[in-house]
Symmetry: D2
Subunit: 291 residues, 4 copies
Amino acid sequence: MELGFIGLGTMGAPMVLNLLKAGHRVRVWNRSSAPLEALITAGAEAVDTPALAAQAEVLISMLGDDTAIRSVFLDSGALEGLQAGSVHINMSTVSVALARELSALHESRGVDYVSAPVLGRVDVAAAGNLNILASGPAEALARVQPLFDVLGRKTWHFGEAADVACAAKLSANLMVASAIESLAEASTLAGGYGISRAAFIDMITSTLFPVPVYQGYGKQMADDTFEPAGFKLSLGLKDVRLVLEAGEAAQVPLPFASVLKDNLLDGMAHGQADQDWASLSRVSDRRAGVK
Amino acid sequence: MELGFIGLGTMGAPMVLNLLKAGHRVRVWNRSSAPLEALITAGAEAVDTPALAAQAEVLISMLGDDTAIRSVFLDSGALEGLQAGSVHINMSTVSVALARELSALHESRGVDYVSAPVLGRVDVAAAGNLNILASGPAEALARVQPLFDVLGRKTWHFGEAADVACAAKLSANLMVASAIESLAEASTLAGGYGISRAAFIDMITSTLFPVPVYQGYGKQMADDTFEPAGFKLSLGLKDVRLVLEAGEAAQVPLPFASVLKDNLLDGMAHGQADQDWASLSRVSDRRAGVK
Amino acid sequence: MELGFIGLGTMGAPMVLNLLKAGHRVRVWNRSSAPLEALITAGAEAVDTPALAAQAEVLISMLGDDTAIRSVFLDSGALEGLQAGSVHINMSTVSVALARELSALHESRGVDYVSAPVLGRVDVAAAGNLNILASGPAEALARVQPLFDVLGRKTWHFGEAADVACAAKLSANLMVASAIESLAEASTLAGGYGISRAAFIDMITSTLFPVPVYQGYGKQMADDTFEPAGFKLSLGLKDVRLVLEAGEAAQVPLPFASVLKDNLLDGMAHGQADQDWASLSRVSDRRAGVK
Amino acid sequence: MELGFIGLGTMGAPMVLNLLKAGHRVRVWNRSSAPLEALITAGAEAVDTPALAAQAEVLISMLGDDTAIRSVFLDSGALEGLQAGSVHINMSTVSVALARELSALHESRGVDYVSAPVLGRVDVAAAGNLNILASGPAEALARVQPLFDVLGRKTWHFGEAADVACAAKLSANLMVASAIESLAEASTLAGGYGISRAAFIDMITSTLFPVPVYQGYGKQMADDTFEPAGFKLSLGLKDVRLVLEAGEAAQVPLPFASVLKDNLLDGMAHGQADQDWASLSRVSDRRAGVK
């Protein structure tokens, strides 16, 4: 297929490589030029504007947040580059409100808008093993399924409305954030009785919670080392804000999310913005007077 | 070894069977006589009072809560039945305060008190695969390790103080309860966007959280069926209260535990006491106005 | 003075009357024409566009929320109507972010922007007894003080930055909302022991909390009558959102505000949007299983 | 009347003086002898045991907490000193559970038990202006009303059950604690925008909240001076625990109380146990990274 791809960060770049390997032609655009060279070597065509990347049968975007999406699509012309009859797959995690807004804007231009945020980090993306949470027009979904099969191990379908897959992704993020906070609180509690964080986390992630989410964040807490960050606390706060906004729009009280937001703010206020959000353990410790 | 065993409920009975199979002699006592017959058939000796069961080299107790322990040990004479030089392994989940109190009382009688609460439900107990969280005098721990090897797959050691293993167990329980609540909130949020609880739970427990804790509680939520309860909401509330008391004694704020307590009370107030505590999903739904 | 006044709702209209009585000339504009007749009779001059109202020595705006302000000032031309050297006093409660944005936009046009949200409801506005929370350029504040003296009993100064008076107002609103919630929780608790809400509220507002905030909301709770609303629950939610946004921008965790938001959402989800936000007592009762 | 009075702390001593002034004969007992001299000078008769003080027509107790009450009444014989036909007025703030337990114990001895906790601090007690929250057998209440008239400005009746007046008092305490926390959060938020705590508190306690509860705690926050404590944070934590226990017994979720408990624990963990509980402002500031 003739593809466009916008957003070549840590996730986007390996996804493009997989698409190229699968035989697709990919025109790429990125705000900074750093990631381009490797992709060009692998066969991608670099273009000068988002609008040029958008002139494709299917455009995929993988950007950091609502602001980046707005900037590229509404201010820098990517939306106008999309041609009637094409499909735009937005794989970024965005707010439900933006998903609805974009969907309507695309529809008015005769373009199908597909939401397809993913579960999985860089290594999973590189292996083509992402879990893809997708919603959008049924025909468009069917049309792009071969691309999903290249990028992910499984596609989970959530219907036609653009915001639904976003809501699914944000709900998943709430669970990840809650897992971190529960690990933080529980290990601080255990610490109050003299149990080292490493000992508690070794036990709990070997018994009840033997999965990467708990093991990965748990290891950071056990080592009390949060840099370089896999996912920065400031981004975690942004995600929890999106969760709360989604809850507000659907009139769903989310008390765990509320606690998370307050604790993440506590972290921000103590210089933890660039630490991994596993450093919620430091918030928990600090409140308990643990040095 | 000559063993005594007090508390033959759903956990205690299969544990006694495993001890008998391993060749130990076990004198058993239980408040009600219902479970006795099968154990006698398997070789246990039933005795008429807790004190008689306590007259053993090692006494194991597996009772429901602080109240039951107090009743049997302080009011009904089990403590007085213990002989100097023996060991009492309390495998019940009790408060850190009671653990400290019992430890001192035992010490004054020349009896070693070992805390050894477990992770695992009935089927795990029957298979001898419990994870045992143990603390107590080092010599006593070494002495009873062969029994732990019969009952569990692994023993996790948390030092000498009686309350520490209790704190580890309560910390683990906080994580389980938090996992349930996060699943409840996240699936209610997803539901606010039209995603069925079953669909969301299928996705999340197949991807990020593919472990029995999430899968088991998730299945109950997906089926919206909470009876018969694996663990009653009223008992969940009791456990969270123990968590909060442990936090208070160690001056550890636990905001997730606080949310849990309020939500469990909400459940109690709506007739969910005898439902499995996975029915926190109903609390979450109810608050969001979902029928 | 030659004044313009935009926003003639329940608060704005009596404020204009007071300004007219004090001898000022006032050109008024409102989205709907309903309130105009009485004001014209009292001497106001109605104009056809926001921009015409803005062509004054001092423009006062009293609108409902950020959206209304944006609509009138950014979309409908009021901002462009303002002349260099004039002052715009925004007495609406708006977000700290909008205050900063407006301040910069005004400054670039040579117009002084003054934030001056108020404490007090309709009857207080009519009596000219508002408490005015003001921040803005010192010279501009001095210039408009005679107007504040007409509208209010006291002006509280909070410095030069446009967002500071907004933050003061939002902080005050957090306290009002917290007073309501504490009254709700406490009276539900008392109710759990058979004390009627009316009896508890009579006692507490006659003893420790004998002030209108508690007495007024308390009376609504005691009567369980929340319509017509003095301040709708949906607007309360909007205010708490502004509080939380202000907290987030300043990295201040606000756990009471977080609880409030979840409880207000619970109210929204149960059809209480148009009830007075004192109906938080119904949320509290509902969670406790009280019919 | 022939009275006994147990507990001569800062509240009890001036209450005894008022009773003496009103012409009653009062036999007093206190754990320490420090307060006795002044009361003997004023006409009180000091006795050597709680039981001797209890041998009166009406016994009044004013002790610090459940532990003190249990110690004096159940362990040190005061209960046994009470004679059939007498009345015991317990004016201490105790748990609803203890009130129920004591009521039953008294009833079995033919003694009427009256709960009568009070609103008001030392100066209010000295002036005989307490608000008395009373519940108990109607006849007993009528019989002791002349004593209430000496001690207080008004008696609020809450029916026959012993625990109800306790619940009313605890509900009132929840409101006081919530007022403090709301003042703390709001002033920290205002501080995030450069408003001094003193300026914000001056404004808010001069406008919406011009009552001693807010003014008194507000002044301590504005001065950032919390010692000597009017009411220690550690005692505040104890009170909030009683509130939460009362809520749990009646199945009433109390999210504000839960936040309070976590924040008070945070204070305890940072050495604030002996500071006035108005120092919740320090918790709030600390979380926001304010030095």
